[in-house]
Symmetry: C2
Subunit: 365 residues, 2 copies
């Protein structure tokens, strides 16, 4: 069978060794004679998985002791509402950076709970950059940002150093590069990119910050409940957490976050170089704000767009169709994507260029 190169934006590629271990656990986990799908979440074996996954997150991201690591459900979309439900009230306001589609969704949900100051936006240039400077009221309950804009293909490399609590949606670049956890008061991320399969959400939060949360909120929306119950207030997404553990163990074997970051930089460099070189394609994001995870680019015309999508599919390249609002192509280079797959894509782009110019010559004759 044709080998597939999965550039999908999420749920995304995970390492083959993780898939194999996960499949084995579905049949017979730890030789217990039970599937991971039928094991009690209160069993000592699964409690060990939750603890180990927490410790791996702490280790890989250097999470200090005064921060909690929690596993929730509902993805970043639930966090868009859970953050303001905990920290914003009718009498308060929060500052938001508008850097794209998902930042806007976060803003929309926050407005249900209190006043929202959109302190900067890159909407004027179709979100092709990250706003560089902005002011906000020092009385804001928090400042919310999105570290990587999955759809628009931009990434923040500098984070605001402000006097208010900083909250960041890191859904699509967490574990892809080194970050300084203490720059943030709360980080959240849907797992289905670099952490594991869909169905769980990671939250890392400073304890003294989540202690400020409102008192009268639903248990399943209360960070303190997840913290105080080791993410097991109710039945957690057992399989997703288990596969995340396997994937984080794999990441540790890759030299951890600093090791994978070097590989991610090399992969992104390779593809951006081809985009910049190849006359048939051009990037959409401003050069200084280009994402290393989600690389968005357009074709010079519709014929190239349609033709290349077909040609790429014939090479086993999957998931490069751009999001409908941006169009063109999006190649997601998550941790588990090998550089050999990026080479296949780059070669396909240059082969297509050759074919296209020959065809054009042919048509001119």
């Amino acid at each position: 069978m044709l080998k597939k190169h999965n550039f999908g934006a999420g749920p995304c590629i995970l390492p083959p060794s993780v898939m194999e271990q996960a499949a084995q656990a579905v049949i017979n986990w730890r030789g217990m004679g039970l599937s991971i799908l039928e094991v009690s979440h209160r069993s000592p074996e699964f409690e060990d998985v939750v603890l180990k996954t927490q410790l791996l997150v702490r280790d890989l991201l250097s999470v200090p002791d005064h921060y909690s690591v929690m596993f929730l459900q509902g993805g970043a979309s639930t966090q868009f509402a859970m953050v303001p439900m905990n920290f914003l009230g009718a009498e308060k306001k929060a500052a938001y950076l508008d850097t794209g589609y998902f930042a806007q969704k976060a803003i929309k949900e926050a407005k249900l709970f209190g006043k929202v100051d959109v302190i900067a936006s890159s909407k004027d240039k179709d979100y092709a950059y990250i706003p560089g400077s902005f002011n906000h009221d020092k009385q804001s309950a928090y400042l919310h940002c999105t570290s990587n804009n999955t759809i628009e293909g931009t990434e923040m490399f500098d984070f605001p150093k402000e006097s208010v609590p900083l909250i960041c949606d890191m859904s699509s670049d967490i574990f892809s590069r080194e970050i300084n956890i203490t720059d943030f008061d709360l980080i959240y991320a849907g797992a289905q990119k670099n952490m594991g399969p869909a169905g769980m959400t990671l939250v890392i939060a400073k304890n003294e910050f989540i202690n400020l949360a409102k008192k009268e909120i639903p248990s399943m929306m209360d960070y303190r409940i997840f913290r105080d119950n080791m993410s097991m207030y109710n039945t957690p997404p057992v399989f997703s957490i288990y596969v995340a553990m396997l994937n984080l163990l794999w990441l540790k074997d890759q030299g951890g976050v600093s090791g994978i970051a070097q590989k991610n930089i090399a992969k992104a460099k390779l593809l951006y170089a081809e985009i910049d070189r190849n006359p048939l394609f051009y990037g959409t994001a401003d050069v200084g704000h280009r994402s290393r995870m989600n690389i968005t680019f357009l074709a010079i015309n519709k014929e190239v767009e349609v033709g290349f999508l077909k040609f790429a599919a014939e090479q086993g390249i999957v998931g490069i169709k751009g999001y409908r609002t941006v169009g063109g192509f999006r190649a997601s280079l998550y941790n588990a994507l090998p550089i050999s797959s990026v080479e296949v894509l780059v070669n396909a782009m240059s082969s297509f260029e050759k074919m296209y110019s020959e065809k054009t010559v042919l048509e001119l004759e």
Copy 2:
């Protein structure tokens, strides 16, 4: 290896054929050369899974067209808050039946949103029965009940025929017996019993009822958002939905809900007969309200309790330790548990009785 008989209360046993298909899909799904864990939720192949799972739910439970079938995350615990967030307000009140631990959790969350009338409770007898009669204000926004009390081992066989919308938590007995969907305005169920693995929640709701929901609620707590986006407003729990589809296909092969209900009745009858016959054990629930899914029973003394738990484990019997508030034993007889496993348990109980009486005789000599 010793064959395991999994009586766990959830996440629980699923059919071996489902585990095998799920494991295969983790390696290579539909021969696509991709794992089910790395497939886009927007791919036509996965959209087909969501649609097929919806249709299976409709088929198996005879869900009429004016009801919607939705897949959410967060389990019943999230529904405890989502129901009142949608339908209860400070100026309204809702009626709740207090039939046990999870009913109480639902009541606690509802109180955050409006006035709660607990119209009947079986707390006076440690929740060993389902209250038979009750009155409630006809102005209530809804009446909430729990069809099966997983911890206390009771089950409702008659549902209130009232003039207000009826909402039911069916987490632990949905798909185990025939129900009349039109008796209810909204049904919810954590999937990790008879539907699939942990990580998804089923909601079946009458469209005209969910249209009454409050307007200004978070998107991820709004039933209309899930209905109008085919449960794909954001990334759904892909693998859990896929395995649920496999499991519901299996259920259809078993003769559907009416077919499995006959088997469930036979399994429960067999175990209750042994509990009633064996002088070492006794049931905790009132006979008329005994659950067919979660069978709770106690030992006559601590020695029998500890000894039988050890003896049962030696026979490969897993997950029969009772919940801490009830103690003793709980054997969950979910759909996928074969009657042969119940026979193993019943035989273990009678063998233990024999051993125990011989030992007692020995000690007396």
